[in-house]
Amino acid sequence: MRLARGIAARLMLALLVMLPLAAPAANEEGMARILFVASQRSASYTEFITHVQQTLDTGNPRMPGNDTLFADDLSASPAPDPQQDLVVAMGTRAAQALQEWQPRTPVIYTLIPEMTFEELRQSGRLPCHEDRCTAIYIDQPLERQVRILHAAFGHRRIGVLLGPTSQRYRGPLEDATRRYKLSTATAAIEDAEGLLPALQNMLEQVDVLLALPDPLVYNSRTAQSILLTTYRYKVPLVAFSKAYTDAGATLSVYSTPRQMATQTAAIIREFLHGERKQLPAPAYPERFRVQINRHVARSIGLDFADTPEFLSIMKESNDE
């Protein structure tokens, strides 16, 4: 089974990377090709690719034909250098697969957390050469989160649980909260057992809990306890994904794959048809959504009616 899959992947890979060779005429006419590398076969990645494609096609019937590979296929077999003009790597596993592959093509890394991208880049093995590489992170800049939190809740005391991964946010977090003159309490979580006591202790002291992604602290196993506990203390939780507000967090700030696809398409266009043909510096997503769980907000006595700045941010962010 594994062998068969390996052979199939190899064949597909060979076909895909060779394809552009079969159509050199098209290339001469400026029909560039893009290779998408997805971390998994799931809806978020497919939606991303579809939307990039649609955006590129709009008003430009001669935009590129594209190919898609999955991280698994790449790691299953070594591949020749891609013939496409640009690679779009979606997610962490795709970036890791490119580390193995080492293509010389320019790459846009996207749907990847900022700290993960930086870590991979600093390892020196990530194919990312100056202006031939860029990234659109999946996470929000801390400054944006703190600004929204300030607009929604005013001068409140913010609590943040920092796990082994999110420890790195400590400095930037202090900078951002200082700018808005917000006081912050942080607690370091070292293991799963320490999570609930630290959370309860923190909720005694703070008005808002800001969630920063950390696999030890915020995962599908801990979500229920964290949501119930914050709710019990009537402390709003400001989270980083749609799933959290769906599940019961008061507010989330996040960018959808579609929003990131729009931004990616703009970069692709600029790269293929712009004058300078270079990629911009890595950046956070420009567009984002602010989602409230009204049911939860109302239950803890929040209606945001007297926070015009927050309401306008929300309206603006949700008008697509």
């Binding site: 971390s39 998994q40 076969r41 799931s42 809806a43 978020s44 497919t46 939606e47 997610g91 962490t92 596993r93 890791q96 749907l111 990847i112 957390p113 700290m115 993960t116 870590e119 991979l120 999946i138 996470d139 082994p164 991964t165 799963a192 999570l195 609930l196 992604p213 950390d214 696999p215 915020y218 995962n219 599908s220 196993r221 801990t222 979500a223 229920q224 306890s225 949501l227 119930l228 506990t229 709710y231 019990r232 009537k234 980083f240 994904s241 799933a243 959290y244 769906d246 599940a247 019961g248 996040y254 794959p257 769980n293 009204r294 049911h295 939860v296 239950s299 006595g301 209606d303």
Partner: protein, 668 residues
């Protein structure tokens, strides 16, 4: 209304079945999406942390993305809809689901049917409250008024519109109703509510919600009285108490304890038989439920659940003088007590990325003591053992197969296997098609199985009901082609299905000549009728902004029935058209207005084969909510049946126009 009175009526009836299991809600099952922990082996944070779904903890949402993965058409009646409807009785809430028919046998006995409402015992649906099956095991039906539950305790109702015995047990015949109560963490402080209206409606409600460390609890006590229908002797009083506590032992373990008690008086008359004088019954109900849940990960969870329900009905009265007995009056004592004990285990897991499984087992004992119905003072019992498994397999990224099967062994009905298979194909994120086929059984109730009802006079030929042999379980085979679409740009969603249901061996009673019968005849239960129902059902929601919500449901159907007994004709037991619409709008300054419109085309009345004409009902609710500090006050005025449609839904039952005012205050 007494049993004997029903007997003398021309109504058709067979009595209800048993059993049921809960399953984890399809919503929850479908929510735990592809799950990595959000980290790679090397400990790097990945995008999964941002993209993966989570188990829904505190949400009144309609759970939109999960419904398109469900194996059977599913509707959610959420808290907003419950409030907007203005309904004060739980079964009325089901008017908000597509294809449902709700009717009242009298002011305190309601009946609910999906596509068909044959008689007052809505015995062909599974009804669960937080996973606890609330069927009455003696004569069947759901004692809606005695559930020890108020409308304000309900968070949402998930309605599975089709047979799903593979997931929910043998009563999951035409539909499954999952009532989910509010998590105590949602309730803090004291809430007081009072309703007063023009049919003698007086309601009081007091709730306290609090917590001690990670133990959240709420206690509700409520009292209700009303005068039922104008032309009936059917006043009721209901006093109830319930408690729910949820204790989080640690990250992985939670305990839920629920307790409830209700009692009250029910005035009873018989508009069909003058032998039964107006009299008053007393009813009691109680339940206890304990559930331990152990969560290993988003993909793996165990629970063990124990519960006990008890229903007691003291119904004794003296008949009017009976000429045939020389003017003598006879004491009829129809007291009955039923107990249900149930234990269930379930394990949900994900053995491979594309496969999710749930399996479990349960054991149940029903005990019934009802001397008048079985001609014995002995307590009868029935044991039911069940194993079940459901699998959800993602064949490709876009195609999902759901397969389920349950095997049930029932003391009185034998053993049977209920399978279900469905295929959901997502053409895109917004458009899904579903093909589904399912078979389910309804086991006979104890009274259907071994009736022995004798008129209490010392003569040999006093039999009214006799045991005419053991009826087989009723059987349904259901086919569905569905479409689920979402149109986020305009804030709309649509669920449409074509359905074909074949119901076989339906249990009805029939009178036959019998030398022991009171008048030379007596009745017995048997599998006398077959029915097919085919039709189309549409359910649309439109939410153009945060302030407006519109729900529209429409069903068109054709029913063919064999109608082998004159006691109840199935072919006229459902309307050809069923429409309901609920709209609500939030104005500034806490004002809210909502309207509900409910239409049924003609069908037979509840207790007889008489046809009633089409029925239209318009309900309006106006409310204002003021919040200050942690406190909240809500004033509401509700008008039911605004146009005063005079159509009787059963002999002498017409709700007229009713108006009530409501005031609620919460101190946090």
């Amino acid at each position: 209304m007494s049993f004997i009175s029903k007997l003398f009526s021309s109504a058709s009836r067979s009595f209800c079945a048993i059993s049921a299991m809960l399953r984890l809600s399809p919503a929850l099952f479908a929510t735990a999406m592809p799950g990595y922990a959000g980290a790679t082996d090397a400990g790097l944070l990945t995008e999964d942390a941002f993209l993966d779904a989570l188990p829904i903890v505190l949400s009144a949402s309609r759970l939109p993305q999960s419904i398109d993965n469900a194996p059977i058409a599913t509707s959610i009646i959420d808290r907003n809809m419950i409030v907007a409807s203005g309904f004060t009785e739980i079964p009325d809430l089901l008017r908000l689901a597509p294809g449902f028919i709700v009717n009242y046998d009298n002011g305190h006995t309601q009946a609910v049917g999906y596509h068909m409402l044959h008689d007052q015992y809505s015995r062909q649906m599974q009804v669960l409250v937080d996973g606890r099956s609330v069927y009455e095991p003696t004569v069947g039906g759901v004692p809606w008024t005695d559930l020890a539950l108020t409308v304000d305790d309900i968070e949402r109702i998930e309605v599975i519109r089709g047979p799903n015995a593979a997931s929910y047990g043998s009563n999951s015949f035409t539909a499954v109703i999952n009532i989910i109560t509010r998590h105590p963490v949602l309730e803090r402080g004291v809430t007081l509510k009072a309703n007063a209206g023009n049919n003698g409606l007086r309601e009081g409600f007091l709730r306290y919600g609090g917590n001690h460390r990670s133990f959240d609890y709420r206690i509700t006590t409520a009292w209700r009285e009303d005068e039922g229908f104008d032309d009936r002797f059917d006043d009721k009083t209901v006093k109830l108490f319930n408690f729910r506590g949820d204790y989080a032992l640690d990250l992985a373990n939670t305990l839920m304890l629920q307790l409830g008690h209700s009692s009250g008086s029910r005035d009873a008359d018989n508009v069909f038989d003058e032998l039964i004088p107006p009299h008053t019954r007393n009813v009691y109900g109680q339940f206890q439920q304990l559930k331990w849940t152990h969560t290993v990960s988003a993909d793996q969870e165990f629970y063990v659940q124990l519960y006990h329900n008890q229903n007691k009905d003291t119904n004794d009265f003296v008949t009017t003088p009976i000429a045939a007995l020389g003017g003598a009056q006879v004491l009829l004592d129809e007291r009955r007590t039923s107990n249900r004990y149930d234990v269930e285990f379930q394990h949900r897991l994900r053995p491979a990325a594309a496969l999710r499984l749930v399996w479990g087992a349960s054991a149940r004992q029903d005990e019934v003591n009802a001397p008048a119905f079985f001609n014995t003072t002995r307590t009868l019992d029935n044991r039911i053992y069940r194993i079940f498994s459901n699998a959800e397999f993602a064949v490709t990224e876009k195609t999902l197969i759901n397969a389920g099967v349950s095997y049930e062994d029932n003391d009185i009905a034998g053993s049977y296997t209920s399978p279900r298979l469905s295929l959901n194909h997502h053409f895109s994120r917004a458009h899904t098609a579903r093909l589904s086929v399912s078979r389910a059984y309804r086991a006979p109730f104890l009274f259907e199985h071994e009736p022995d009802y004798r008129f209490p006079v010392p003569i040999p030929n006093n039999v009214l009901f006799f045991d005419g042999g053991d009826p087989d379980p009723e059987e349904i085979t259901s086919y569905e082609i569905g479409y689920i679409g979402s149109f986020p740009r305009i804030g709309a969603s649509l669920d449409a299905k074509l359905f074909y249901d074949r119901l076989e061996h339906l249990i009805t009673y029939m009178g036959v000549s019998n030398p022991l019968g009171l008048d030379g005849t007596a009745a017995f239960f048997d599998n006398l009728d077959n029915v097919t129902i085919r039709g189309i059902e549409l359910s649309a929601q439109y939410q153009p902004g945060d302030r407006d919500r519109i729900h529209i449901n429409y069903t068109h159907q054709e029913i063919d029935g064999t109608d082998n007994t004159s006691k109840g004709q199935y072919s006229i037991a459902g309307p050809s058209d069923n429409l309901n619409l609920l709209a609500s709008h939030d104005f500034d300054h806490g004002y809210n207005a909502s309207a509900g419109f409910y239409y049924l085309s003609k069908m037979k009345q509840l207790a007889t084969n008489d046809i009633r004409g089409e029925q239209k009902r318009l309900d309006l609710r106006f409310a204002r909510t003021l919040a200050s500090g942690g406190n909240e006050r809500t004033f509401a005025l509700v008008i039911q049946n605004l146009f005063d449609d005079e159509q009787e839904t059963r002999l002498k039952n017409n709700i007229d126009r009713r108006i009530y005012a409501s005031f609620a205050i919460t101190f946090r």
